[in-house]
């Protein structure tokens, strides 16, 4: 089969796999102080931001890449990557969508994320990040009226330095770990959200991440602050072109909820997973952490992870404020040669803190899935509770599913519950569905969606429908 034909066949499976032919401005290849200065300079950052980056880089040089994870991967040559790549047309920042490169608008249209005023998604404000830059943010004015800040990270550094200085790195310190520290040194763009006191954000905020350029890592940085008594629901979606190489995506996401505030963070991750033989695909090594800083605050993570060659992440909650609540709802699907090592960490520090973990792992083909989760109740966290439910569903007999819960309870007044199940889709169930007129794919999709229902219900309506379809598509061809 010639390459062209192969590409066409692949596109049938992963419809976001196209790439946009666009002229880029790139940092010189490799990782060094010069490159970090280049990034900071091109973004016209203040000195304090550059200092933050350089401090992280100093730390990074002393860190060793971790290797305790289950999915192994070939050594990454960090000097052989581009750390900044942005469409050239973004060099002179377009002031409005009219000035935006039509190729970019077209790309987002193809992805189902229209940016133009007339075609925008109802009730959802979008920040569109293309490789290393945010290209557009919609509904900005409407949000500004309520004092809500929703903009790219680069813009926030310029316009809201006090907030950024105060909170950036406050949940994921620059000394945190290898990938998080790398991100702190070279992060390019991402979203910034601030919800003022007592404001309930009237629409869903969302960021759409797109990797386009080859040999480029994406290092995005997102910071969400919900001030006292506020509420926000935030969604992120991700896709990438199909390439034979593995591309690194190492993002940092920090959430801060003050007294009585609530943040709901949903992810539908559909990075390119590699082809059927396991060639190519994204390495999705992401650090996501939320701090329930104030009393009665709540942070809820919902993730649907269907893409990437390797997914390695643990969206976590630090429950510092008394009576704070952390939740983690996850669906992770691996097919073909995909691998995932994912779960959460719930760190109970405050009194009467509660956490809930619902994890649904589905593995098919030759894939391998690991749930790894930590529940840590400190000696001061009186009357705290955790409930964990971990279900695995296997399809076929060449895949794997593993569950490793780490449970630490240092408080006698608190308790932790853990439930786990492993099941398989039976031929009898499929036969039953077939007999009722459903073909194999429809039957699998129905059964799997039933298995994931508790988590799908957590997603905002518009996303839930998409996610449901995605769940079906990801498993296509997984039963014979």
């Amino acid at each position: 089969m010639d390459n062209r034909q192969k590409e066409i066949d692949n596109l049938k499976d992963y419809k976001y796999g196209f790439s946009t032919d666009i002229e880029n401005t790139r940092a010189p290849k490799g990782l060094n102080e010069g490159v970090i200065k280049f990034i900071s300079n091109i973004k016209k950052e203040p000195q304090w931001m550059l200092d933050f980056r350089l401090k992280a880089f100093e730390r990074f040089k002393q860190l060793k890449e971790p290797d305790w994870q289950k999915p192994k991967y070939p050594k990454i040559d960090y000097q052989d990557l581009y750390y900044y790549s942005a469409p050239k047309s973004m060099d002179d920042k377009p002031k409005s969508l009219d000035e935006l490169d039509p190729k970019l608008l077209e790309t987002y249209k193809k992805l189902g994320i229209p940016l133009q005023e007339q075609a925008r998604l109802n009730g959802i404000a979008v920040d569109a990040v293309f490789d290393s830059v945010s290209v557009a943010t919609t509904f900005k004015e409407e949000l500004t009226k309520q004092g809500i800040i929703f903009c790219s990270m680069s813009e926030a550094i310029q316009k809201h330095p006090d907030l950024v200085k105060k909170y950036l790195g406050s949940v994921i310190p620059i000394t945190d770990h290898f990938f998080a520290t790398l991100n702190s040194a070279v992060f390019t763009d991402g979203s910034f959200v601030y919800i003022p006191k007592g404001i309930k954000c009237p629409m869903e905020l969302s960021t759409y991440f797109r990797i386009n350029a080859s040999e480029t890592g994406q290092f995005e940085r997102t910071l969400i602050i919900a001030d006292k008594g506020s509420y926000v629901s935030y969604l992120e979606g991700c896709t990438a072109p199909m390439r034979d190489e593995n591309q690194l995506h190492a993002a940092n996401v920090e959430l801060i909820a003050l007294d009585d505030a609530e943040i709901k963070y949903s992810t539908v991750q559909n990075w390119y997973p590699g082809d059927k033989d396991g060639v190519g695909g994204i390495y999705n090594f992401v650090t996501k952490r939320g701090l329930c800083k104030g009393k009665n605050s709540k942070i809820s993570w919902t993730q649907v992870e269907t893409g990437s060659a390797i997914t390695w992440k643990y969206p976590s909650c630090i429950l510092k404020g008394d009576n704070s609540v952390g939740e983690f709802y996850s669906i992770a699907i691996t097919n073909n040669h995909q691998k995932a090592d994912t779960g959460t960490k719930m760190i109970h520090l405050g009194k009467n803190t509660k956490s809930k973990i619902i994890s649904k792992g589905i593995s098919a083909g030759n894939s391998d899935m690991m749930y790894r989760g930590l529940v840590d109740i400190s000696s001061k966290a009186d009357n705290s509770r955790n409930f964990t439910q971990c279900d695995s569903l296997l399809m076929g007999n060449k895949c794997g599913a593993h569950t490793i819960p780490y449970i630490k309870n240092k408080n006698l007044k608190s308790n932790i519950e853990h439930e786990a199940t492993t099941s398989k889709i039976s031929d009898e169930q499929l036969y039953y569905c077939n007999q009722r007129g459903l073909n194999q794919e429809e039957a699998v999709s129905l059964i799997v969606n039933g298995f994931c229902k508790e988590v799908l219900q957590q997603l905002p309506m518009e996303f839930a429908v998409e996610a449901q379809k995605l769940v079906g598509i990801s498993l296509e061809g997984s039963v014979g």
Partner: protein, 244 residues
Amino acid sequence: MLTIENLKAKIEEKEILKGLNLNINPGEVHAIMGPNGSGKSTLSNILSGKKGYEINGNVTFEGENLLNLETEERAHKGIFLAFQYPLEIPGVNTNTFLKTSINAIKKARGEKELDAIEFLKLIKQKSAELKFDEKILSRQLNVGFSGGEKKKNEILQMSILNPKLSILDETDSGLDIDALRIVSEGVNSLRNKENSFLIITHYQRLLDYIKPDFVHVLKNGQIIKSGDYELAKELEKVGYEDFN
């Protein structure tokens, strides 16, 4: 409508059906009776398209070679099997399952799919007819259902899908007398000039409620005798052992 000629079936080298012949015309109700292990369930599995059998012989449904069709294609053509042991599907609510099923069949036939309101209307009407507690429909499919509820759910599905050929695989086993009556009424209400039934049972009891046009005795993989309703009564008296 359905013609079976010299049907032989093996599973894991074990011969179960050994040359079975049967002809069902539109509107006819056929009952197949036989002892355990005579091949009754195998027959219903083969007709509905369960995989794993080595099959010889001819089966045509409305003139078409049935054995070449996928399981779901047979369902689209109007073949329905009421399962002896209906499967549980956790997390999928019964309503959703029914709607997905009826719309999959409609879509395959090129008919307009039912929207939520049309579906609800249909299901309300059918469950009232069958005295089926609607609350069950919002529960997960067959999960935690009693034996009787599972069987009634099969009959509800049958009456919603309105199949041309309904195969009931020991639907009566384990039913109390009230449930048996409901199941029978379900079948009787679908009886007309076009719809046919193949009722597989151990006992004559069900046939008191659903009067079949033909009764066949299946023993050792073959139909050894065919007759009318009187044959069922005779069987009940003599027992399978001595019946030749």
